[in-house]
Subunit: 240 residues, 2 copies
DNA sequence: CGGATCTTTGAGCGGGGTCAAATTAGGTGG
DNA sequence: CCACCTAATTTGACCCCGCTCAAAGATCCG
Protein backbone atom coordinates (compact mmCIF):
# COMPACT_ATOMS: atom_id res chain seq x y z
CA UNK A 1 0.00 0.00 0.00
CA UNK A 2 1.11 3.50 -0.73
CA UNK A 3 0.25 5.73 2.12
CA UNK A 4 3.60 7.46 2.24
CA UNK A 5 3.68 11.21 2.07
CA UNK A 6 7.35 11.46 1.20
CA UNK A 7 6.97 12.24 -2.53
CA UNK A 8 4.94 15.35 -1.67
CA UNK A 9 6.87 18.51 -2.44
CA UNK A 10 6.22 21.10 0.24
CA UNK A 11 4.42 23.73 -1.85
CA UNK A 12 4.04 22.56 -5.44
CA UNK A 13 1.56 19.81 -4.66
CA UNK A 14 -0.06 21.49 -1.70
CA UNK A 15 -3.66 20.53 -2.31
CA UNK A 16 -4.93 23.81 -1.00
CA UNK A 17 -2.69 26.38 -2.54
CA UNK A 18 -4.48 29.64 -3.24
CA UNK A 19 -6.81 29.56 -6.23
CA UNK A 20 -8.68 32.80 -6.61
CA UNK A 21 -10.33 31.65 -9.80
CA UNK A 22 -12.70 29.34 -7.96
CA UNK A 23 -16.30 30.43 -8.58
CA UNK A 24 -18.25 32.31 -5.93
CA UNK A 25 -21.94 32.08 -5.07
CA UNK A 26 -22.28 35.74 -4.27
CA UNK A 27 -21.92 38.44 -6.90
CA UNK A 28 -19.75 40.84 -5.00
CA UNK A 29 -19.25 43.15 -7.96
CA UNK A 30 -22.99 43.78 -8.05
CA UNK A 31 -23.01 44.51 -4.33
CA UNK A 32 -20.10 46.94 -4.64
CA UNK A 33 -22.22 49.15 -6.84
CA UNK A 34 -24.45 49.78 -3.83
CA UNK A 35 -22.10 49.90 -0.86
CA UNK A 36 -18.52 50.10 0.29
CA UNK A 37 -17.04 46.63 0.48
CA UNK A 38 -13.83 46.70 2.49
CA UNK A 39 -11.22 43.98 2.46
CA UNK A 40 -9.72 42.73 5.67
CA UNK A 41 -6.89 40.36 6.47
CA UNK A 42 -7.21 38.12 9.49
CA UNK A 43 -4.19 36.20 10.73
CA UNK A 44 -4.41 32.57 11.78
CA UNK A 45 -5.59 32.43 15.37
CA UNK A 46 -7.14 35.90 15.32
CA UNK A 47 -10.80 36.57 15.85
CA UNK A 48 -12.84 37.90 12.94
CA UNK A 49 -15.50 38.81 15.49
CA UNK A 50 -16.31 37.80 19.05
CA UNK A 51 -19.36 37.12 21.10
CA UNK A 52 -20.71 40.44 22.39
CA UNK A 53 -18.97 42.69 19.87
CA UNK A 54 -21.17 45.06 17.89
CA UNK A 55 -22.56 43.56 14.71
CA UNK A 56 -21.58 45.87 11.89
CA UNK A 57 -21.06 43.70 8.84
CA UNK A 58 -21.58 40.40 7.12
CA UNK A 59 -18.27 38.77 6.34
CA UNK A 60 -17.63 37.07 3.06
CA UNK A 61 -14.71 34.65 3.06
CA UNK A 62 -12.55 35.34 0.02
CA UNK A 63 -9.67 33.18 1.15
CA UNK A 64 -8.63 31.24 4.21
CA UNK A 65 -10.34 28.98 6.68
CA UNK A 66 -12.29 29.80 9.84
CA UNK A 67 -14.34 28.21 12.58
CA UNK A 68 -17.40 29.55 14.36
CA UNK A 69 -17.87 28.83 18.08
CA UNK A 70 -20.94 29.07 20.22
CA UNK A 71 -20.26 30.00 23.85
CA UNK A 72 -22.22 29.57 27.06
CA UNK A 73 -22.20 31.91 30.01
CA UNK A 74 -20.44 29.33 32.15
CA UNK A 75 -17.57 28.86 29.72
CA UNK A 76 -18.61 25.86 27.66
CA UNK A 77 -17.69 26.11 24.02
CA UNK A 78 -18.94 24.39 20.90
CA UNK A 79 -17.53 24.60 17.40
CA UNK A 80 -20.60 25.07 15.20
CA UNK A 81 -18.95 25.01 11.81
CA UNK A 82 -15.94 25.46 9.59
CA UNK A 83 -16.04 28.18 6.95
CA UNK A 84 -14.08 28.53 3.76
CA UNK A 85 -13.90 30.59 0.57
CA UNK A 86 -17.39 31.50 -0.60
CA UNK A 87 -19.04 31.20 2.80
CA UNK A 88 -20.86 34.11 4.40
CA UNK A 89 -20.24 34.70 8.10
CA UNK A 90 -22.24 36.69 10.60
CA UNK A 91 -25.67 35.99 9.11
CA UNK A 92 -26.71 34.44 12.42
CA UNK A 93 -26.52 37.93 13.97
CA UNK A 94 -29.05 39.52 11.59
CA UNK A 95 -31.68 41.27 13.63
CA UNK A 96 -29.34 41.81 16.58
CA UNK A 97 -26.95 44.58 17.48
CA UNK A 98 -24.15 42.32 18.71
CA UNK A 99 -22.60 39.06 17.62
CA UNK A 100 -23.62 35.97 19.57
CA UNK A 101 -20.72 33.75 18.65
CA UNK A 102 -17.02 33.80 17.82
CA UNK A 103 -15.44 33.52 14.39
CA UNK A 104 -11.78 32.53 14.47
CA UNK A 105 -9.36 32.25 11.57
CA UNK A 106 -7.62 28.87 11.42
CA UNK A 107 -5.53 30.11 8.54
CA UNK A 108 -4.55 33.53 7.32
CA UNK A 109 -7.77 34.73 5.73
CA UNK A 110 -9.03 37.50 3.52
CA UNK A 111 -12.49 38.72 4.35
CA UNK A 112 -14.73 41.08 2.44
CA UNK A 113 -16.88 43.09 4.78
CA UNK A 114 -20.42 43.94 3.72
CA UNK A 115 -21.47 46.70 6.13
CA UNK A 116 -24.71 46.10 7.98
CA UNK A 117 -27.37 47.44 7.83
CA UNK A 118 -26.35 49.11 4.51
CA UNK A 119 -26.26 45.65 2.96
CA UNK A 120 -30.00 45.34 3.65
CA UNK A 121 -30.70 48.60 1.83
CA UNK A 122 -28.62 47.37 -1.07
CA UNK A 123 -30.61 44.17 -1.20
CA UNK A 124 -33.79 46.19 -1.37
CA UNK A 125 -32.53 47.61 -4.67
CA UNK A 126 -31.49 44.20 -5.94
CA UNK A 127 -34.58 42.01 -5.40
CA UNK A 128 -32.84 39.02 -6.85
CA UNK A 129 -30.11 39.21 -4.25
CA UNK A 130 -32.66 39.60 -1.51
CA UNK A 131 -33.96 36.15 -2.33
CA UNK A 132 -30.38 34.94 -2.41
CA UNK A 133 -29.79 36.13 1.12
CA UNK A 134 -32.90 34.36 2.40
CA UNK A 135 -31.83 31.27 0.50
CA UNK A 136 -28.35 31.48 2.01
CA UNK A 137 -29.82 31.69 5.49
CA UNK A 138 -32.13 28.76 4.77
CA UNK A 139 -29.24 26.68 3.53
CA UNK A 140 -27.37 27.44 6.73
CA UNK A 141 -30.32 26.06 8.67
CA UNK A 142 -30.42 22.93 6.54
CA UNK A 143 -26.69 22.37 6.98
CA UNK A 144 -26.97 22.69 10.75
CA UNK A 145 -29.86 20.25 10.82
CA UNK A 146 -28.05 17.64 8.77
CA UNK A 147 -25.27 17.81 11.37
CA UNK A 148 -27.83 17.42 14.14
CA UNK A 149 -28.96 14.27 12.36
CA UNK A 150 -25.39 13.03 12.01
CA UNK A 151 -24.49 13.71 15.62
CA UNK A 152 -27.78 12.42 16.94
CA UNK A 153 -27.81 9.15 15.05
CA UNK A 154 -24.28 8.07 14.15
CA UNK A 155 -21.52 6.65 16.36
CA UNK A 156 -18.12 8.32 16.65
CA UNK A 157 -16.27 6.73 13.76
CA UNK A 158 -19.09 7.39 11.32
CA UNK A 159 -19.34 11.00 12.42
CA UNK A 160 -15.66 11.40 11.61
CA UNK A 161 -16.19 9.78 8.22
CA UNK A 162 -19.10 12.14 7.53
CA UNK A 163 -16.91 15.06 8.53
CA UNK A 164 -14.17 14.06 6.12
CA UNK A 165 -16.64 13.59 3.27
CA UNK A 166 -18.16 16.99 3.97
CA UNK A 167 -14.82 18.76 3.91
CA UNK A 168 -13.87 16.87 0.76
CA UNK A 169 -17.09 17.81 -1.03
CA UNK A 170 -16.74 21.47 -0.12
CA UNK A 171 -13.12 21.59 -1.24
CA UNK A 172 -14.12 19.89 -4.49
CA UNK A 173 -16.73 22.58 -5.16
CA UNK A 174 -13.95 25.14 -4.86
CA UNK A 175 -11.84 23.27 -7.36
CA UNK A 176 -9.49 21.57 -4.95
CA UNK A 177 -8.79 17.87 -4.69
CA UNK A 178 -11.48 15.96 -2.84
CA UNK A 179 -9.17 12.98 -2.33
CA UNK A 180 -6.17 14.68 -0.81
CA UNK A 181 -6.27 17.67 1.48
CA UNK A 182 -4.85 19.32 4.56
CA UNK A 183 -7.09 19.80 7.53
CA UNK A 184 -6.87 23.37 8.78
CA UNK A 185 -8.17 22.59 12.26
CA UNK A 186 -6.83 20.52 15.14
CA UNK A 187 -8.31 17.31 16.51
CA UNK A 188 -9.92 19.23 19.36
CA UNK A 189 -11.90 21.44 16.97
CA UNK A 190 -13.11 18.45 14.96
CA UNK A 191 -14.03 16.74 18.21
CA UNK A 192 -16.02 19.70 19.49
CA UNK A 193 -17.85 20.03 16.21
CA UNK A 194 -18.78 16.34 16.26
CA UNK A 195 -19.63 16.29 19.98
CA UNK A 196 -16.73 13.96 20.77
CA UNK A 197 -13.36 14.18 22.56
CA UNK A 198 -10.14 14.72 20.67
CA UNK A 199 -8.78 11.29 21.60
CA UNK A 200 -11.87 9.70 20.11
CA UNK A 201 -11.36 11.57 16.85
CA UNK A 202 -7.75 10.43 16.73
CA UNK A 203 -8.78 6.83 17.35
CA UNK A 204 -11.49 7.00 14.71
CA UNK A 205 -9.04 8.36 12.17
CA UNK A 206 -6.51 5.68 13.09
CA UNK A 207 -9.14 3.00 12.69
CA UNK A 208 -10.35 4.32 9.33
CA UNK A 209 -6.74 4.21 8.24
CA UNK A 210 -6.36 0.61 9.44
CA UNK A 211 -9.47 -0.21 7.37
CA UNK A 212 -7.72 1.36 4.35
CA UNK A 213 -10.56 3.81 3.87
CA UNK A 214 -8.21 6.77 4.33
CA UNK A 215 -4.64 7.58 5.13
CA UNK A 216 -3.79 10.20 7.72
CA UNK A 217 -0.61 11.82 8.85
CA UNK A 218 -1.29 14.57 11.33
CA UNK A 219 -3.40 17.00 9.30
CA UNK A 220 -2.82 15.55 5.87
CA UNK A 221 -5.63 13.30 4.71
CA UNK A 222 -6.13 11.09 1.67
CA UNK A 223 -9.46 9.45 0.97
CA UNK A 224 -8.62 5.99 -0.39
CA UNK A 225 -12.07 4.44 -0.58
CA UNK A 226 -14.85 6.98 -0.89
CA UNK A 227 -17.62 4.42 -1.56
CA UNK A 228 -16.79 2.60 1.67
CA UNK A 229 -16.71 5.90 3.55
CA UNK A 230 -20.10 6.83 2.14
CA UNK A 231 -21.55 3.44 3.05
CA UNK A 232 -20.14 4.06 6.50
CA UNK A 233 -22.26 7.15 6.99
CA UNK A 234 -25.46 5.64 5.70
CA UNK A 235 -25.51 6.87 2.15
CA UNK A 236 -26.77 3.82 0.27
CA UNK A 237 -24.14 2.71 -2.20
CA UNK A 238 -25.04 4.18 -5.61
CA UNK A 239 -23.68 1.07 -7.30
CA UNK A 240 -26.28 -1.69 -6.68
CA UNK B 1 -44.28 17.66 49.41
CA UNK B 2 -47.15 18.20 47.08
CA UNK B 3 -46.57 16.50 43.82
CA UNK B 4 -50.05 15.06 43.56
CA UNK B 5 -51.99 15.77 40.43
CA UNK B 6 -55.36 14.78 41.85
CA UNK B 7 -56.73 18.31 42.44
CA UNK B 8 -56.42 19.09 38.73
CA UNK B 9 -59.81 19.43 37.08
CA UNK B 10 -59.68 17.92 33.60
CA UNK B 11 -60.22 21.08 31.52
CA UNK B 12 -60.57 24.13 33.74
CA UNK B 13 -56.96 24.13 34.91
CA UNK B 14 -55.46 22.63 31.80
CA UNK B 15 -52.31 24.68 31.59
CA UNK B 16 -52.44 24.75 27.81
CA UNK B 17 -56.08 25.37 26.99
CA UNK B 18 -56.52 27.39 23.82
CA UNK B 19 -55.70 31.09 24.22
CA UNK B 20 -55.97 32.91 20.90
CA UNK B 21 -55.29 36.25 22.52
CA UNK B 22 -51.59 35.51 22.96
CA UNK B 23 -49.52 38.04 20.97
CA UNK B 24 -47.88 37.04 17.66
CA UNK B 25 -44.55 38.09 16.24
CA UNK B 26 -45.77 38.23 12.66
CA UNK B 27 -48.34 40.76 11.49
CA UNK B 28 -50.56 38.46 9.49
CA UNK B 29 -53.14 41.16 8.81
CA UNK B 30 -50.50 43.15 6.97
CA UNK B 31 -49.52 40.13 4.92
CA UNK B 32 -53.11 39.37 4.01
CA UNK B 33 -53.33 42.66 2.21
CA UNK B 34 -50.76 41.31 -0.25
CA UNK B 35 -51.64 37.64 -0.65
CA UNK B 36 -54.17 34.94 0.03
CA UNK B 37 -53.55 33.43 3.46
CA UNK B 38 -55.42 30.14 3.78
CA UNK B 39 -56.16 28.39 7.05
CA UNK B 40 -55.58 24.72 7.42
CA UNK B 41 -56.38 22.23 10.15
CA UNK B 42 -53.94 19.42 10.81
CA UNK B 43 -54.94 16.54 13.06
CA UNK B 44 -52.61 15.13 15.68
CA UNK B 45 -50.29 12.64 14.02
CA UNK B 46 -50.79 14.04 10.52
CA UNK B 47 -48.03 15.54 8.43
CA UNK B 48 -48.12 19.25 7.69
CA UNK B 49 -45.55 18.53 5.01
CA UNK B 50 -43.13 15.75 4.23
CA UNK B 51 -39.65 15.38 2.92
CA UNK B 52 -39.75 15.53 -0.88
CA UNK B 53 -43.14 17.20 -1.22
CA UNK B 54 -43.28 20.40 -3.28
CA UNK B 55 -42.56 23.51 -1.27
CA UNK B 56 -45.48 25.84 -1.85
CA UNK B 57 -45.93 27.81 1.36
CA UNK B 58 -44.50 28.97 4.64
CA UNK B 59 -46.59 27.71 7.52
CA UNK B 60 -47.47 29.90 10.44
CA UNK B 61 -48.59 28.03 13.54
CA UNK B 62 -51.74 29.68 14.87
CA UNK B 63 -52.56 26.92 17.32
CA UNK B 64 -51.33 23.46 18.19
CA UNK B 65 -47.96 21.81 18.58
CA UNK B 66 -45.68 20.23 15.98
CA UNK B 67 -42.28 18.64 15.55
CA UNK B 68 -39.87 18.85 12.65
CA UNK B 69 -37.82 15.80 11.68
CA UNK B 70 -34.73 15.52 9.56
CA UNK B 71 -34.41 12.26 7.64
CA UNK B 72 -31.50 10.41 6.09
CA UNK B 73 -31.61 8.28 2.97
CA UNK B 74 -30.97 5.15 5.00
CA UNK B 75 -33.88 5.72 7.36
CA UNK B 76 -32.32 7.48 10.31
CA UNK B 77 -34.49 10.19 11.82
CA UNK B 78 -33.76 13.17 14.01
CA UNK B 79 -36.24 15.48 15.68
CA UNK B 80 -34.83 18.95 15.01
CA UNK B 81 -37.34 21.01 16.94
CA UNK B 82 -40.73 21.50 18.47
CA UNK B 83 -42.94 24.26 17.11
CA UNK B 84 -45.82 26.06 18.74
CA UNK B 85 -48.13 29.05 18.26
CA UNK B 86 -46.26 31.94 16.67
CA UNK B 87 -43.56 29.81 15.05
CA UNK B 88 -42.97 29.83 11.32
CA UNK B 89 -42.40 26.48 9.63
CA UNK B 90 -40.91 25.69 6.27
CA UNK B 91 -38.38 28.51 6.20
CA UNK B 92 -35.62 25.94 5.89
CA UNK B 93 -36.92 25.14 2.38
CA UNK B 94 -36.57 28.68 1.03
CA UNK B 95 -34.61 28.55 -2.18
CA UNK B 96 -35.66 24.97 -2.92
CA UNK B 97 -38.62 23.50 -4.79
CA UNK B 98 -39.26 20.68 -2.32
CA UNK B 99 -39.27 20.28 1.44
CA UNK B 100 -36.23 18.60 2.98
CA UNK B 101 -37.77 17.57 6.25
CA UNK B 102 -41.02 16.46 7.85
CA UNK B 103 -43.37 18.55 9.96
CA UNK B 104 -45.76 16.49 12.06
CA UNK B 105 -48.59 17.71 14.27
CA UNK B 106 -48.34 16.40 17.84
CA UNK B 107 -51.66 18.02 18.62
CA UNK B 108 -54.57 19.16 16.51
CA UNK B 109 -53.18 22.33 14.94
CA UNK B 110 -54.34 25.31 12.96
CA UNK B 111 -51.89 26.54 10.38
CA UNK B 112 -51.95 29.70 8.29
CA UNK B 113 -50.39 29.11 4.92
CA UNK B 114 -48.38 31.89 3.33
CA UNK B 115 -48.05 30.84 -0.31
CA UNK B 116 -44.51 30.75 -1.66
CA UNK B 117 -43.12 32.41 -3.69
CA UNK B 118 -45.94 35.04 -3.49
CA UNK B 119 -44.86 35.74 0.07
CA UNK B 120 -41.50 36.93 -1.26
CA UNK B 121 -43.20 39.39 -3.60
CA UNK B 122 -45.29 40.62 -0.72
CA UNK B 123 -42.16 41.16 1.35
CA UNK B 124 -40.73 43.22 -1.47
CA UNK B 125 -43.58 45.67 -0.98
CA UNK B 126 -43.19 45.65 2.79
CA UNK B 127 -39.49 46.35 3.36
CA UNK B 128 -39.92 46.21 7.08
CA UNK B 129 -41.23 42.68 6.91
CA UNK B 130 -38.42 41.65 4.62
CA UNK B 131 -35.97 42.39 7.41
CA UNK B 132 -38.26 40.48 9.79
CA UNK B 133 -38.04 37.39 7.64
CA UNK B 134 -34.25 37.52 7.54
CA UNK B 135 -34.25 38.08 11.29
CA UNK B 136 -36.58 35.12 11.80
CA UNK B 137 -34.26 32.91 9.76
CA UNK B 138 -31.26 34.15 11.69
CA UNK B 139 -32.96 33.42 14.99
CA UNK B 140 -33.67 29.91 13.78
CA UNK B 141 -29.95 29.47 13.16
CA UNK B 142 -29.10 30.79 16.62
CA UNK B 143 -31.62 28.48 18.26
CA UNK B 144 -30.21 25.47 16.45
CA UNK B 145 -26.68 26.42 17.48
CA UNK B 146 -27.58 26.81 21.12
CA UNK B 147 -28.92 23.25 21.00
CA UNK B 148 -25.71 22.10 19.35
CA UNK B 149 -23.90 23.62 22.32
CA UNK B 150 -26.23 21.95 24.78
CA UNK B 151 -25.98 18.56 23.14
CA UNK B 152 -22.25 18.82 22.57
CA UNK B 153 -21.29 19.87 26.07
CA UNK B 154 -23.90 18.74 28.61
CA UNK B 155 -24.60 15.23 29.97
CA UNK B 156 -28.00 13.59 29.63
CA UNK B 157 -29.72 14.87 32.75
CA UNK B 158 -28.72 18.45 32.11
CA UNK B 159 -29.89 18.28 28.53
CA UNK B 160 -33.29 17.21 29.79
CA UNK B 161 -33.30 20.08 32.29
CA UNK B 162 -32.41 22.50 29.49
CA UNK B 163 -35.23 21.09 27.39
CA UNK B 164 -37.78 21.60 30.15
CA UNK B 165 -36.62 25.17 30.75
CA UNK B 166 -36.83 25.91 27.04
CA UNK B 167 -40.38 24.62 26.75
CA UNK B 168 -41.33 26.51 29.90
CA UNK B 169 -39.89 29.78 28.63
CA UNK B 170 -41.64 29.47 25.29
CA UNK B 171 -44.97 28.65 26.91
CA UNK B 172 -44.52 31.61 29.23
CA UNK B 173 -44.02 33.95 26.27
CA UNK B 174 -47.36 32.75 24.96
CA UNK B 175 -49.04 33.52 28.25
CA UNK B 176 -49.18 30.00 29.62
CA UNK B 177 -47.83 28.79 32.92
CA UNK B 178 -44.09 28.21 32.92
CA UNK B 179 -44.26 26.12 36.08
CA UNK B 180 -46.92 23.64 35.12
CA UNK B 181 -47.50 22.26 31.66
CA UNK B 182 -48.33 19.21 29.59
CA UNK B 183 -45.72 17.88 27.23
CA UNK B 184 -47.19 17.33 23.81
CA UNK B 185 -44.53 14.87 22.68
CA UNK B 186 -43.50 11.41 23.83
CA UNK B 187 -40.26 10.42 25.51
CA UNK B 188 -38.90 9.13 22.23
CA UNK B 189 -39.28 12.52 20.56
CA UNK B 190 -37.58 14.30 23.43
CA UNK B 191 -34.83 11.70 23.32
CA UNK B 192 -34.27 12.11 19.60
CA UNK B 193 -34.14 15.87 19.91
CA UNK B 194 -31.57 15.66 22.71
CA UNK B 195 -29.53 12.91 21.03
CA UNK B 196 -30.39 10.40 23.76
CA UNK B 197 -32.50 7.23 24.09
CA UNK B 198 -36.01 7.33 25.50
CA UNK B 199 -35.08 5.26 28.55
CA UNK B 200 -32.37 7.79 29.36
CA UNK B 201 -34.89 10.64 29.19
CA UNK B 202 -37.21 8.75 31.50
CA UNK B 203 -34.40 8.12 33.97
CA UNK B 204 -33.30 11.76 33.84
CA UNK B 205 -36.84 12.92 34.55
CA UNK B 206 -37.18 10.43 37.39
CA UNK B 207 -33.93 11.60 38.89
CA UNK B 208 -34.83 15.29 38.61
CA UNK B 209 -38.04 14.40 40.40
CA UNK B 210 -36.14 12.56 43.16
CA UNK B 211 -34.02 15.73 43.53
CA UNK B 212 -37.27 17.69 43.97
CA UNK B 213 -36.41 19.95 41.04
CA UNK B 214 -39.54 18.89 39.18
CA UNK B 215 -42.50 16.60 39.45
CA UNK B 216 -43.52 14.42 36.52
CA UNK B 217 -46.45 12.16 35.87
CA UNK B 218 -46.35 10.88 32.33
CA UNK B 219 -46.62 14.05 30.27
CA UNK B 220 -47.60 16.43 33.03
CA UNK B 221 -44.67 18.44 34.38
CA UNK B 222 -44.30 20.88 37.25
CA UNK B 223 -41.11 22.85 37.74
CA UNK B 224 -40.55 22.99 41.49
CA UNK B 225 -37.12 24.60 41.66
CA UNK B 226 -36.28 26.67 38.61
CA UNK B 227 -33.06 28.17 40.06
CA UNK B 228 -31.67 24.69 40.68
CA UNK B 229 -32.67 23.64 37.18
CA UNK B 230 -30.95 26.68 35.72
CA UNK B 231 -27.81 26.03 37.74
CA UNK B 232 -27.97 22.49 36.40
CA UNK B 233 -27.66 23.66 32.80
CA UNK B 234 -24.83 26.06 33.44
CA UNK B 235 -26.67 29.35 33.71
CA UNK B 236 -24.82 31.04 36.55
CA UNK B 237 -27.27 31.66 39.35
CA UNK B 238 -28.44 35.27 39.04
CA UNK B 239 -28.41 35.58 42.81
CA UNK B 240 -24.68 35.71 43.46
C1' DC C 1 18.27 23.78 21.42
C1' DG C 2 14.27 24.02 24.55
C1' DG C 3 9.53 24.66 25.57
C1' DA C 4 4.77 24.77 24.23
C1' DT C 5 1.33 22.64 21.61
C1' DC C 6 -0.66 18.94 19.07
C1' DT C 7 -1.26 14.12 18.14
C1' DT C 8 -1.20 9.37 19.25
C1' DT C 9 -1.79 5.37 22.09
C1' DG C 10 -2.78 2.65 26.20
C1' DA C 11 -5.33 1.31 30.41
C1' DG C 12 -9.33 1.59 33.05
C1' DC C 13 -13.76 3.39 34.11
C1' DG C 14 -18.50 4.99 33.78
C1' DG C 15 -22.48 7.20 31.57
C1' DG C 16 -25.62 6.04 28.64
C1' DG C 17 -27.16 2.37 25.52
C1' DT C 18 -29.33 -2.28 25.00
C1' DC C 19 -32.42 -5.72 26.19
C1' DA C 20 -36.17 -7.25 28.75
C1' DA C 21 -40.21 -7.07 31.57
C1' DA C 22 -43.80 -4.91 34.31
C1' DT C 23 -47.17 -1.22 34.51
C1' DT C 24 -50.32 1.93 32.88
C1' DA C 25 -52.88 4.72 29.70
C1' DG C 26 -55.68 4.97 25.79
C1' DG C 27 -58.39 3.45 22.04
C1' DT C 28 -61.78 0.27 19.99
C1' DG C 29 -65.34 -2.63 19.29
C1' DG C 30 -68.57 -5.77 21.37
C1' DC D 1 -69.52 -0.06 30.22
C1' DC D 2 -66.15 -3.24 29.94
C1' DA D 3 -62.72 -6.43 27.78
C1' DC D 4 -59.09 -6.34 25.02
C1' DC D 5 -55.39 -4.67 22.44
C1' DT D 6 -51.83 -1.48 21.34
C1' DA D 7 -48.69 1.94 22.51
C1' DA D 8 -46.22 4.71 25.96
C1' DT D 9 -43.69 4.90 30.17
C1' DT D 10 -40.92 3.16 33.80
C1' DT D 11 -37.51 0.34 35.93
C1' DG D 12 -33.89 -3.14 36.37
C1' DA D 13 -29.71 -5.68 34.88
C1' DC D 14 -25.95 -5.77 32.09
C1' DC D 15 -22.64 -4.21 28.75
C1' DC D 16 -19.99 -1.38 25.66
C1' DC D 17 -18.63 2.82 23.38
C1' DG D 18 -16.58 6.75 24.28
C1' DC D 19 -14.50 9.47 28.15
C1' DT D 20 -10.75 10.18 31.55
C1' DC D 21 -6.25 10.08 32.88
C1' DA D 22 -1.62 9.45 31.75
C1' DA D 23 2.48 9.24 29.08
C1' DA D 24 5.10 9.21 25.02
C1' DG D 25 6.29 11.04 20.52
C1' DA D 26 6.07 14.75 16.91
C1' DT D 27 6.05 19.43 15.27
C1' DC D 28 6.55 24.17 15.50
C1' DC D 29 8.46 28.42 17.02
C1' DG D 30 11.37 31.39 19.45
Amino acid sequence: MDTSFAPLAPEATNPQSFRPEAPLELDIAELQRHMVVTRRKVRAGQYLYRNGQPFRALHFVHAGFLKTCELSEDGREQVTGFRMRGDLLGVESIGLSVHTCDAVALDDAEIWELPYPPVLDALRHIPELQVRLAAALAEEIRRDRVWMLTIGTLPAEQRVAAFLLDIAARLARLGFSARHFILRMGRADIASFLALKHETVTRALSHLERLQYISVLRREVKLLDVPKLRACVGTPCTIQ
